[in-house]
């Protein structure tokens, strides 16, 4: 029994668990929106696009978050502009922009093999996060969560029906910029916990899981955040026993939860859908 409490005896473990839970929660909040718009891969794209920013920041001795954030914004802006002026499909644009940013990042790292540990960017390492970076991550997550809590309804209307949002006096473009700014910021934060490769799971899976459980947006948000925070907390905790690879554990946990709910969800689960279909056929046969 006491063995299970051992992780709580270490400051670095508590720090890792709290940061992971916060980041997991805020990413899950964003995932509820991204998934609905079919923009899920946007998170992935951003995470990769951030790499040159992080590398550049290390080389110049700036806070990594600043560089990452700048790169993320540049990439979003790039995607938006190419989308406006070209007739390429969105997925092609996303692919184009993020691979070029990522390639540029790798190039930077290989030319200036400084203190940057590419491994850290790509795999994340929340267990060894320095205090100043931990603080950056905490601030990003806390500010994002506050803004989202205040503005979730406006964002919902914009994501549901952009035109209508305008007729009730909202500003869809401003709100979308706000959203993508938060997404860039949170992707930066998540980079530290799970790494660039797995950020995409953090900004898709919890929302997709919650979507199977409810037809109401605010409940979807709550469930999504709960799933994201809980799996991240538990993932960080388990990584103490499994020795490292926090990101991998978190994402595996999220996937397990998703699969369970995909099968057993009360209304939209696979089994229930089958059962309902069978019942309706049986009923039909009985009456005829």
């Amino acid at each position: 029994m006491s063995e299970l409490l051992v992780p709580f005896a270490y400051d670095y473990m508590i720090k890792a668990m709290v940061i992971s839970a916060l980041v997991g929660g805020v990413c899950a909040f964003l995932s509820a929106y991204l998934m609905l718009k079919g923009w899920s891969l946007m998170g992935d794209a951003l995470a990769h696009a951030i790499v040159p920013g992080v590398a550049g920041a290390y080389i110049l001795g700036l806070p990594f978050a600043a560089g990452a954030f700048l790169a993320g914004l540049l990439a979003s802006l790039g995607m938006y502009l190419v989308n406006q002026v070209s007739r390429l499909r969105e997925d092609a644009i996303i692919g184009l922009i993020f691979t070029s940013f990522f390639a540029f990042g790798l190039l930077l790292v290989s030319i200036y093999p400084t203190a940057v540990n590419v491994q850290t960017i790509i795999m994340g390492n929340v267990l060894a996060i320095p205090d100043d970076e931990a603080l950056q991550v905490l601030i990003i997550a806390a500010v994002s969560l506050t803004i989202l809590t205040l503005k979730w309804r406006d964002l919902m209307v914009v994501f549901f029906d952009e035109n209508y949002a305008r007729t009730v006096g909202l500003h869809p473009i401003r709100l979308k910029i706000l959203f993508f700014t938060l997404l860039s910021a949170c992707t930066v934060a998540a980079l530290q916990t799970v790494g660039a490769f797995l950020v995409v799971a953090m900004v898709i899976t919890p929302g997709a899981t919650a979507y199977l459980l409810t037809d109401r947006f605010h409940i979807l948000l709550l469930l999504s955040v709960a799933i994201g925070a809980a799996t991240s907390f538990i993932g960080a905790y388990l990584s103490f026993f499994l020795n490292g690879a926090t990101g991998g554990i978190i994402v595996v946990l999220q996937t397990v939860v998703f699969l369970a709910i995909f099968l057993f969800a009360p209304k939209h689960g696979l089994l229930q859908t089958r059962r309902a279909a069978a019942a309706s056929i049986a009923e039909h046969e009985q009456t005829s």
Binding site: L36, D161, T167, V168, G169
Partner: protein, 308 residues
């Protein structure tokens, strides 16, 4: 309580040209104006620019030339004042979005709420009332994708009601809707007209236009004719607006009558409800109004449950 400008709504479209990014001109030099207490039919074939005109009125696309004024104000300002309610074409809505019927109607109240958009008791009452007026109260807990075509339309109509817009724009409200619901929507629009609202309704359903529109705007890339239904919705204008797209039947006087009566019947149809002109060939005639169900023995049209 409300100032005069918002009490007497008007719509002024002058010289509006919309060119899309790909170079397509969706609408050319469109001008017309409408005032409060009216239902105006916006009639034209597919691709004639009806939806484009709506988008231009609401400022979703910026006209290359021309201006739109709503209640004497620019569109953006009018929308901030909640003067405009919009009922979108069904294809524009994401039906899988996790919102219930009542959530969608509540969105109509957002413009009236504060920074945090927390619904007040009054907001909730308006939603309940709007749902009641379109007979959707019993479906308020349904996810919006789980409704029939007519019910979906009614939800968005309720959202417009809850918003209390003075100018209501309806893009193809009768597409995919059964006749009963169509009549109920028409009746509701009549009530709104009597309450001083101004409605612009796009349709290519010709036959019902004379039933409920007191004004019409005929468009095909540009405004071909605009004015009161009696003088504007004529056979020759329609033939111009629809070109060769319409089916055209004519029965002359001799085929209809056994006497010397020269009047004939002309039926124009685009495969939905036809419009019928009766009278001498070479004169402009008023279109015939159809007899409505209520004039006959059946019950008055109401929003019926068309789910089952």
């Amino acid at each position: 309580m409300k100032d005069k400008v918002s009490a007497d709504i008007s719509l002024n479209v002058s010289g509006v040209t919309v060119t899309y990014r790909n170079g397509n001109t969706g609408l050319r030099d469109a001008s017309f104006s409408l005032s409060a207490g009216s239902i105006c039919g916006l009639v034209g074939v597919n691709g004639s620019g009806k939806s484009t005109l709506f988008k231009a009125i609401m400022g979703f696309v910026t006209p290359t030339t021309g201006t739109v004024q709503i209640g004497g104000r620019p569109a953006a300002e009018a929308m901030r004042k909640n003067l405009v309610a919009y009922v979108p074409q069904a294809e524009e809505v994401d039906w899988n979005f996790p919102v219930l019927v009542e959530d969608v109607v509540m969105m109509g109240r957002y413009g009236h709420m504060g920074f945090l958009r927390t619904p007040s008791v009054h907001d909730r009452a308006m939603v309940t009332d709007a749902l009641d007026r379109v007979r959707m109260t019993e479906y308020r807990d349904r996810q919006i994708g789980e409704l029939s075509g007519g019910q979906k339309k009614r939800v968005f109509l309720a959202r417009a009601l809850a918003q209390e817009g003075k100018l209501i724009l309806l893009d193809e409200p009768f597409t995919g809707v059964d006749v009963k619901t169509e009549h109920a929507i028409i009746d509701l629009m009549g009530e709104l007209r009597d309450a001083g609202h101004l409605m612009l309704v796009s349709t290519h359903n010709l036959g019902s236009v004379p039933d409920f529109c007191d004004q019409v705007v005929l468009i095909n890339q540009t405004v071909l004719a605009a004015g009161p239904t009696e003088t504007t919705f004529t056979q020759s204008n329609l033939e111009e607006a629809f070109g060769g797209v319409l089916r055209h039947f004519r029965l002359d006087g001799t085929e209809l009558h056994n006497d010397e009566d020269e009047r004939g019947v002309t039926v124009l149809t685009d495969d939905e409800r036809p419009v019928i002109f009766y009278g001498n060939k070479d004169r402009a005639h008023e279109p015939r109004r159809r007899q409505r169900d209520r004039d006959e023995t059946g019950p008055p049209p109401e929003f019926m449950d068309d789910a089952s």
